[in-house]
């Protein structure tokens, strides 16, 4: 292959990286090799060749697609790229779909687009209410945690006892008290020792904590707990592997990746940015439907413990909620509902949402006052009473 094409392929890989695709140097070199194999006669073949090497997730396809079109069309006229692109931008400047284009364009020509972007920022924040709500939440939540608070939060979460703490896996680990005989270790040891006596080495099943999926309500009626919940989620995410966190109000947001950031204030800032329905209404049914449809098979596959944190006050009065709860219950190992609204033991499920949800919960945890992380951890650590006594478990 000519050196010029190779250079272009590598440049293209760099553009993708700048546009946000995780493309490594190794992949860029692979792309050159791959193009050598396939040749550049057909545009489609060329497209799919680069796609096979440079794309690693289905959702990267859109970005790749745009970058490909833009890059390889304008490549011949690289010197005129700035003008060409400015023209395109002016035409579709305000429509929603151009957001990825802007990323690609920025990656291609960082300096020309950056300045254009400045005066566009306002357009994205269209709903004034959402904006102000977000502002308010940021003001409320961004009091930084002191080092002492952080340490306490970590300790608390580490000491938390969930209804299922550990599960046996199929893997074995050496253990003097184990029941299984570790043949491999036994034979190795006996050959090493050189004695006539074969001493059995033992093994037992390794134990592992189950994955946790947290679905947390952040609607208006729950808003006074938001900060604490987020701190809780951040501490849990840092404490164990396989934690997935979702926030919901009127729509569902996956905040798992944001919460993985080590710095709690930074993590919460990113969460606040990505969620757009703080302190609004609640559509529990619709959000659970969204979860069941798009996420349950991806995050519940390994027998997860689901922690549902909501007061059960549903704007849609429980419409379609029962069916979604049943599906959720059927696809996880254990469904724990933490309800912070209850004030007295003799609680009766009056709200339609609560009534629709209760039959499908394995473990119902009402709490009288939830005012600190300590209280939250205490509720979750209480021994399980397996089902609410005042409701039949399953209608049918």
């Amino acid at each position: 292959m000519s050196g010029r094409l190779a250079a272009n392929v590598i440049h293209f890989a760099r553009v993708l990286r700048a546009a946000g695709l995780p493309v490594g140097t190794g992949q860029a070199l692979d792309a050159v090799r791959a193009v050598e194999q396939v040749g550049i006669e057909g545009r489609d073949d060329f497209y799919w060749t680069l796609h096979a090497v440079l794309v690693t997730r289905a959702d990267q396809r859109a970005l790749f697609d745009e970058a490909f079109a833009l890059f390889w069309q304008t490549r011949r006229l690289i010197s005129q790229l700035a003008q060409t692109h400015r023209g395109e931008e002016a035409e579709d400047g305000h429509d929603e779909g151009s957001r990825t284009s802007r990323r690609v364009a920025e990656a291609l020509m960082p300096e020309t687009v950056a300045e254009r972007r400045e005066d566009k920022v306002e357009v994205e924040r269209d709903a004034a209410l959402t904006w102000s709500e977000r502002e308010r939440l940021q003001a409320m939540d961004f009091e930084e945690m002191s080092a002492e608070e952080l340490r306490r939060a970590r300790d608390l979460v580490a000491r938390m006892r969930l209804p299922i703490m550990v599960l046996p896996t199929r893997r074995l680990e050496p253990s003097t008290l184990g029941r299984a005989v570790d043949m491999r270790a036994t034979l190795r040891a006996s050959m090493r020792a050189g004695g006539d006596v074969i001493r059995l080495r033992r093994a037992r099943r390794k134990r592992r904590r189950p994955p946790i999926v947290v679905l947390c309500d952040i609607s208006g009626s729950m808003s006074r707990y938001s900060r604490m919940m987020l701190h809780f989620l951040h501490a849990v995410t840092g404490d164990r592997d396989r934690v997935h966190s979702f926030l919901f109000g009127t729509r569902l947001t996956n905040v798992t990746r944001h919460l993985r950031h080590r710095d709690v204030d930074h993590a919460l800032a990113r969460v606040a940015e990505s969620v757009e329905d703080w302190s609004g209404g609640t559509r529990i049914g619709a959000c659970l439907h969204d979860f069941n449809r798009h996420w349950s098979r991806r995050v519940l596959g390994q027998g997860a413990l689901v922690l549902l944190i909501t007061d059960g006050l549903d704007r849609e009065a429980g419409d379609g909620l029962a069916a979604e709860m049943r599906r959720l219950h059927d696809s996880c190992r254990r469904l724990v509902w933490l309800n912070p609204l209850l004030r007295f033991e003799g609680f009766q499920p009056k709200s339609l949402g609560v009534r629709a949800m209760l039959p499908y919960v394995d473990d119902f945890r009402p709490v009288h006052s939830l005012d600190s992380l300590q209280a939250l951890v205490d509720v979750l650590s209480r021994p399980a009473h397996h089902r609410p006594t005042f409701a039949p478990r399953r209608a049918a």
């Binding site: 791959a34 799919w48 796609h51 096979a52 690693t56 491999r184 034979l187």
Partner: protein, 309 residues
């Protein structure tokens, strides 16, 4: 079986796959071609039933290579994925050596930890096939998303160098790298580090033309009219808000089922009775059965009538 040589262009890859009754587009063929030429694992992701596993089988059959399949599950360990020692034989061997008066323990140890006592599990079979003349096999690592992260990390090591180390024997490197196909149903995200060593392809549901071609090959007894209606029906069904849309495997099953029932056309009673071949969740079946099915049948027939080609 004489191993066929690997294809030298995307077109010949398409022809190769078609020879094994696997109908697909150029995009997947490009990924397959590159995987074979560059000795990179092919990483296929997609919904259940779109033909991810099938491609490994077809490759093995058309290339004339043995297929080695590793079905993943949580807790998959070295003993069941890579190799295991034949302990019973080792013990007997030690007893025999002792009975014969063999005193040199080191020699016995060397002896019982040799190839004769290794039970090859799929990964080792793929790296060091048996018999060794059979040629590099096609290694299918099925449903990797079911395995856990530690196994994934181990696999990373195997797939980057096609090398496995048995402590007592030493590193074993593949004479010729196997063709590797990894599938995932995406019940969890596979780590980027592994995907980056692979050629990635998202296997989508086929379009109507491709799906009809697949039916012609896989359900040859169905009448042309029935196949067309089935495809039109299923394509519409995939546009609905279902918990699990039917894959190609389900389309083939359903078409075969209708043929077994001697149907040459879709009718409501039969569709209602056989929906279980297409949809695997009661909620989905309940949503489609009856009126919805009636509407879909009408639309499917209209589509077929509008395009009699």
């Amino acid at each position: 079986m004489v191993p066929a040589s690997i294809p030298d262009s995307v077109d010949s890859t398409l022809a190769l796959l078609a020879g094994g009754d696997y109908v697909t587009g150029r995009n997947l063929a490009t990924a397959v071609f590159l995987s074979l030429r560059m000795h990179r694992p092919l990483f296929l992701e997609g919904e259940a039933g779109v033909g991810k596993t099938e491609i490994a089988k077809v490759l093995a059959a058309t290339l004339g290579r043995p297929l080695v399949r590793l079905q993943c599950y949580e807790g998959l360990d070295v003993a069941s994925a890579v190799y295991e020692w034949n302990y019973a034989r080792q013990m007997i061997e030690i007893r025999l050596a002792e009975a014969a008066g063999e005193k040199d323990r080191a020699a016995i140890a060397r002896d019982v930890f040799s190839w004769d006592f290794v039970i090859r599990r799929p990964l080792l079979q793929a790296i060091r096939p048996e018999p060794e003349s059979a040629g590099a096999p096609v290694l299918l690592i099925d449903e990797l998303d079911r395995a856990d992260e530690p196994f994934e990390a181990f696999l990373l090591e195997v797939l980057s160098d096609y090398q496995i180390t048995i402590p007592e024997i030493g590193p074993i490197k593949a004479a010729e790298p196997p063709a590797v196909v990894i599938t995932s149903n995406r019940t969890r995200e596979i780590h980027d580090a592994l995907k980056r060593r692979c050629l990635y392809h998202w296997v989508d549901y086929p379009d109507a033309v491709t799906e009809l071609e697949i039916l012609r090959r896989k359900a040859p007894n169905a009448t042309e009219a029935l196949s067309r209606q089935v495809v039109a029906f299923v394509q519409r069904l995939r546009g609905m808000d279902l918990f699990k849309s039917p894959g190609i495997a389900e389309t083939i099953d359903w078409c075969t089922a209708l043929t077994e029932l001697d149907r040459t056309e879709l009718d409501l009673a039969t569709v209602d009775a056989t929906l279980g071949a297409l949809l695997k969740y009661q909620d989905d079946i309940a949503a489609v059965r009856g009126e919805q099915a009636q509407a879909l049948i009408a639309e499917a027939k209209a589509t077929v009538d509008a395009d009699p080609a």
